[in-house]
């Protein structure tokens, strides 16, 4: 079925419009990040910066401790993502492969974790952290985020569908259970692990609400929370620095997402299954 030329032109035009729908805020940001503040506030100024102010970027970088923020965000995202994959994979494997007492009950507990939005239990979790004096600490940030019900659920589904014969064969060859898990089944799940990992990483990287309520010291701030300093401390007048700061925060994520684009798409599909 071939399309006529006018129809094809129409499709490409509409596609261009929809891509612009995604990109226009980012283009606006890039442009505003290189303007002077007077240009941004002036309604008659051109949309593009005529005299790019590259110094905005370094000024923004030096206004807040970005290095520290990136380090904190990296520590948080790497540990929590590792936790999600490890607990999810091991628990999911156990649920899929073994019988143990109260298995059904335990699995319903996990499922309830999927149904309860984290935001609903936010207040009690913070009260709990306050009880053990973990507010404003790395462990307070990280420990509550170490396990993922979604991960457990996904890995269980995956391992339920995995062929049992592989493990049987290895067992006959005298492999220990741990070894069977590590050398036989873990590699099978590798593609899903890749997708799950990247999506978990991005989600943790962008986590805002939880760090916001658990920390308030600049030493522990993650990049998202750190950015809000531009809004509060410097007042809303310095838009160009706000945009330059946003640019600094957006670029690394953008690079990661573009490199791992296919995995991100797969990961989003994984996250959608829980519905």
């Amino acid at each position: 079925m071939r399309m006529r030329l006018p129809a094809r032109i129409a499709v490409y035009a509409l596609v261009t419009v929809s891509v612009l729908l995604v990109l226009f805020p980012l283009l606006w940001m890039a442009s505003a990040a290189l303007k002077t503040n007077a240009e941004i506030i002036d309604p008659d100024s051109p949309l593009l910066p005529l005299h790019p102010q590259w110094s905005n970027l370094s000024t923004a970088w030096n206004t807040v401790p970005f290095g520290r923020f990136f380090l904190n965000t990296a520590i948080f995202s790497i540990t929590t993502t590792a936790g999600w994959v490890a607990t999810g994979m091991l628990a999911g494997y156990a649920f899929a492969m073994f019988d143990f007492p109260f298995k059904r009950v335990l699995f319903y507990v996990v499922l309830s974790g999927l149904m309860i939005p984290f935001t609903v239990v936010l207040v009690p979790v913070v009260q709990l952290l306050a009880d053990v004096h973990w507010v404003n600490t790395y462990q307070g940030l990280i420990v509550p985020n170490l396990a993922s019900a979604l991960g457990c659920f996904l890995y269980r589904q995956f391992f339920l569908a995995a062929p049992l014969e592989l493990g049987e064969a290895a067992r006959i060859d005298g492999a220990s259970e741990l070894r069977i898990f590590w050398t036989v089944y873990r590699p099978l799940a590798q593609p899903m692990t890749g997708a799950f990992m990247i999506i978990a990483f991005l989600q943790n990287w962008n986590n805002f609400l939880f760090p916001l309520v658990v920390t308030n010291s600049e030493k522990l701030m993650m990049i998202s929370q750190g950015l809000t300093i531009f809004e509060g401390q410097i007042s809303r007048v310095t838009y160009n620095l706000m945009m330059a700061g946003s640019l600094i925060a957006v670029i690394p994520v953008l690079i990661v997402a573009m490199i791992a684009q296919r995995r991100v798409v797969e990961g989003l599909a994984l996250g959608a299954v829980r519905g």
């Binding site: 506030i41 939005p117 207040v123 979790v125 741990l178 706000m242 994520v253 798409v265 989003l268 519905g275």
Partner: protein
């Protein structure tokens, strides 16, 4: 079961159970609170504007879901057309989902700047009234538009995947029978996609109910509570002001939880009825 495996289970399942046990345990605390303090917290929630909060939540969530679903579905249909280059375009729709919401919120904030922001320049150019974050009605519209922008890419990608998985022979048979593009969409593709539509609907609704960052930066729940959703109410009562009340936050959190469960269940029943 081998001891080694028992250990694995303990070290992986138990922390999980602990985490969930905590959340359940808290649920119980809400429960006991209720039975002793009566429904006092709930009464107070509603006497201090809780009804308004729920109305805002409803308007926000419905607007958010409709905007995401309509834009997402149309764009997915467009990208599903087999023309060179359209496959690569898919990558762009990943962007809004992964960039930090705080950064994009700043961007949208400046785009709504009176007179000089991108939106208000465009609206003025078209002779339309400006969108102002300090006016209750337009602030809510602005927050909905922004929330939808951040999420609609996911709808595009999920619908695209669903469209790709439709059985090609059925569509072909429909063409052979003389069905035009509109008829194929209306009578073949749309019904086949129903299951996916319901799933995406659940996902979008839950996302809408949990929108926080966008509101935090853009309007902080204002002006005059015009963008204060249930989740935002929980946040403000518990952590926002010195005058807040944990009891009220908890009560609203329970209501929010009830709404989430209700929405999910009713939408899932809807799927089952249609597919059965």
């Amino acid at each position: 079961m081998l001891p080694v495996l028992a250990l694995t289970v303990i070290f992986s399942v138990v922390p999980l159970v602990m985490v969930f046990d905590r959340s359940l345990y808290r649920g119980n605390i809400f429960g006991t609170d209720l039975s002793f303090a009566g429904l006092a917290n709930y009464r107070e929630v509603f006497s201090t504007g809780g009804g308004h909060v729920l109305a805002v939540t409803a308007v926000f969530t419905v607007g958010f879901v409709v905007a995401c679903m309509v834009a997402g579905f149309c764009i997915a249909l467009l990208l599903d057309i087999r023309l060179p280059g359209l496959r690569q375009v898919r990558a762009f729709f990943v962007i809004p989902i992964v960039v930090p919401p705080v950064a994009t919120a700043f961007i949208w904030f400046t785009m709504f700047e009176p007179n000089s922001g991108l939106f208000n320049r465009a609206l003025q150019g078209l002779g339309l009234p400006q969108v102002n974050l300090n006016t209750p009605s337009t602030a809510l519209v602005a927050v909905i538009a922004f929330g939808a922008w951040q999420f609609f890419g996911e709808v595009v990608l999920l619908y695209l995947a669903a469209l790709k998985s439709l059985p090609g022979d059925v569509l072909e048979a429909a063409s052979v029978d003389g069905a035009g593009p509109w008829q194929r969409l209306r009578y073949v593709r749309w019904p086949l996609l129903w299951h996916q539509t319901a799933l995406i609907l659940v996902l979008a609704t839950l996302n809408g109910l949990q929108t926080f960052t966008q509101i935090y930066v853009l309007t902080d729940g204002g002006p005059q509570g015009a963008t204060q959703t249930a989740l935002y109410y929980v946040y403000q009562e518990a952590f926002g002001y010195g005058t807040g009340s944990i009891g009220l936050a908890d009560a609203m959190a329970v209501i929010l939880f009830g709404i989430s469960i209700l929405v999910t269940l009713s939408q899932l029943t809807l799927i089952n009825r249609r597919t059965a």
